[in-house]
């Protein structure tokens, strides 16, 4: 089962995302801020990280930049939840590899289809590699 780490300071959001994604067949872990998420990633890397940007203690941006330093060989993607109004603050994302955007307000359907397509393409590359 694919493991997904969700970092969001809004407990309602992590709760509903966990509920939804578990129904869709994923294992879900939650973190209330970037620091907790980073600790969890270092302990055991998930298959996908979904993170909010504005969080107390450590923001999503700080967490991503830390990840680049701590895990330069990282292969799993980070999905960043942003709204249209945050677009001008996206320069930092240029430095992060394997980063994708999820538009807010977040649609569950959009998230699951994005995750599904990601894992499908990953399976293809893996099978190609095996072949």
């Amino acid at each position: 089962m694919k493991r997904i780490l969700i970092a969001d300071d809004e407990p309602h959001m992590t709760r509903v995302l966990k509920l939804y994604l578990e129904r869709a067949g994923y294992t879900v872990e939650t973190a209330p801020n970037g620091q907790v998420a980073l600790d969890s990633i270092i302990k055991s890397a998930p298959d996908v990280v979904v993170t909010d940007i504005q969080m107390p203690v450590m923001t999503g941006q700080q967490m991503c930049l830390q990840l680049e330093e701590l895990l330069p060989e990282r292969t799993f993607p980070v999905f960043v939840m942003t709204s249209m109004t945050d677009r001008e603050h996206r320069e930092w994302t240029q430095k992060i590899k394997n980063l994708e955007f999820l538009e807010k307000p977040l649609s569950m359907r959009a998230l699951t289809s994005k995750l599904d397509s990601y894992f499908r393409s990953e399976e293809i590359t893996e099978s190609e590699n095996h072949a």
């Binding site: 809004e10 309602h12 959001m13 509903v16 939804y20 209330p32 107390p56 977040l106 649609s107």
Partner: protein, 602 residues
Amino acid sequence: MITASLAAIAIISGLLYKHQVTLHEDKIRIQGVALTRALSATDYTQLLPETNKSSLISNLVEVQANEDFAYGIIVNSAGQKLYENTSAGSIAPAVTMPSEPFAWFGEHNVISPGDGRKIREFYAPIMNAGALAGFVRIGYYDKPTGILIGEISNLGLMALPVFLLTTLSYFLIRREIKPLGKLSEKIEQASLSYGVQPLAPLHGGDLENFIQRFDQFIQLVQSRVNQMDKDSVSAQTNSHLLSYKQEKAESALNSIPDAVLVIDDACVPTFANLKVEPILSVSRDEIIGHQPQEWCKNKEVLAFLMRFKSGPSAMRLANIEYMPEENSDRRISVSAFPLFSPRDQNTLFGMLIIFRDISKEYLARQAGAEFVAHVSHELKTPLNTLYTYSELLLGYASLAESERVDAVNVIHGEVERMAGLVNNLLNISKIETGTMQLNRKRVKMNDLLQDAFGTMNNQAMGKGIELALKLSPDLGSVRLDKDMFRIAIDNLLSNAIKYSNAGGTVTLSARPLDDDQMQISVRDEGIGIASEDKEKVFLKYFRADNSKTAARSGHGLGLYLAKQIIEMHHGVITVNSELGKGTEFIVTFKAQPVQLEESLAA
């Protein structure tokens, strides 16, 4: 001049001559009178010698012989000459002798018939046996002969120094008068330069001319001095007035909170008010009269000022903002306004530069921008939740009944949260724009606090927090705006609940104080407030900068709004807190006696 010299000589000569004549007259008179008397006293027989032998008279006359002697004769009473002794060329005229005895002695003038010279004749009677026998007449030339010749050398000797003296004094005077003449001309020029009419040229002696001119000049100077005195008094008055006006203008310019700088067309400051010093951190002396490169430390400002050197085409950009120090919150705005000549509106003579400290405005602007960002985040967060939960309910996944109820509860809570935020924003906006009117009514304090407790109790229980109510049994009635007061109390309670830890207690208590004062307290056992933040908790948008606060959603408006409302009710709100132990907000306000209010209303 030579005339004067000659005249002086003539006068002196005349005086000398007159003196000589007088001397001569005296001399001949003494001689004549003495001789005639002597002869008169002589015996007649002795007087006239019988023969032409020498006689007394001839001897006497010979003794007299000098150039003045004209003649000596003896006549009988009929006038016939009995004896005559004359000098060369002199003839004694025939004269009728007086017959009366009182006139026998005397003198008179006669004319010599020979050479026509005036002769002074002295006469005296000659007695013979007691009867008049005749007269003795002795004549002298009236004018001294050769007197001029005799004195001419003296005269010449006298005339020479006189002439020399006169000439010398003439040249001396000329030497003195020449500069006087020049002075006179200068005075005239001076009088011309004073702008008064030129002095009429004068005829006459240089000195007289000069004296007249000098008099005129002195009068002129006097009148000018008087005029100048008057002018100076009025000028002094004017200058006092002017300096007073200037001082007034300058003090006005100094009182302006902005720094005012006037630069000329070469970019050199010609005026700077006092405020320039704190804003530019340069003394006025260093600025005035110096190129901006010499005193302007900020490159942006320097570039801004130097633009105006290149002429009016560069006048378009007339405003910049800059940070006076690195990484500071201070912001200075610099504006430039063209200064036109008061006479010619097309002539530019410099620029008026205004430096305004807009740090407060900048902070407010920043705070406003931050507030907008913050509020929009606060509004978007529940919106995101609502979006996701409503999608969930729409059935993208089959949900258990409990999950469905849970989702609806979340939606309800988020809507409440948004509504609370929007209400707070609207109330703050009303208070800040001054459109909030308190609708004071008689309210029973116990009921009001009981209601607030009841409402907030649900919220507290949802978070595992116990809400306690401790009210004095009869707090009485108070006139206040019930809705607004509830907003204040609710904000205090929800704030206490928000920053409480699960299992903690929030206590709402109220008791009357002396002097009609009432005290309401909201106490929690939550995270507390750091002492350095105590003063700031009531500030708009303030949220303590720490992880425990950040972990709780809030917009920094609740306490600000509570304080505004309580102050509108003439109350005071204070805070006691210890980090990690808890916080107590205390509201103290005057409970206006209802009886008095009612009697006033009636």
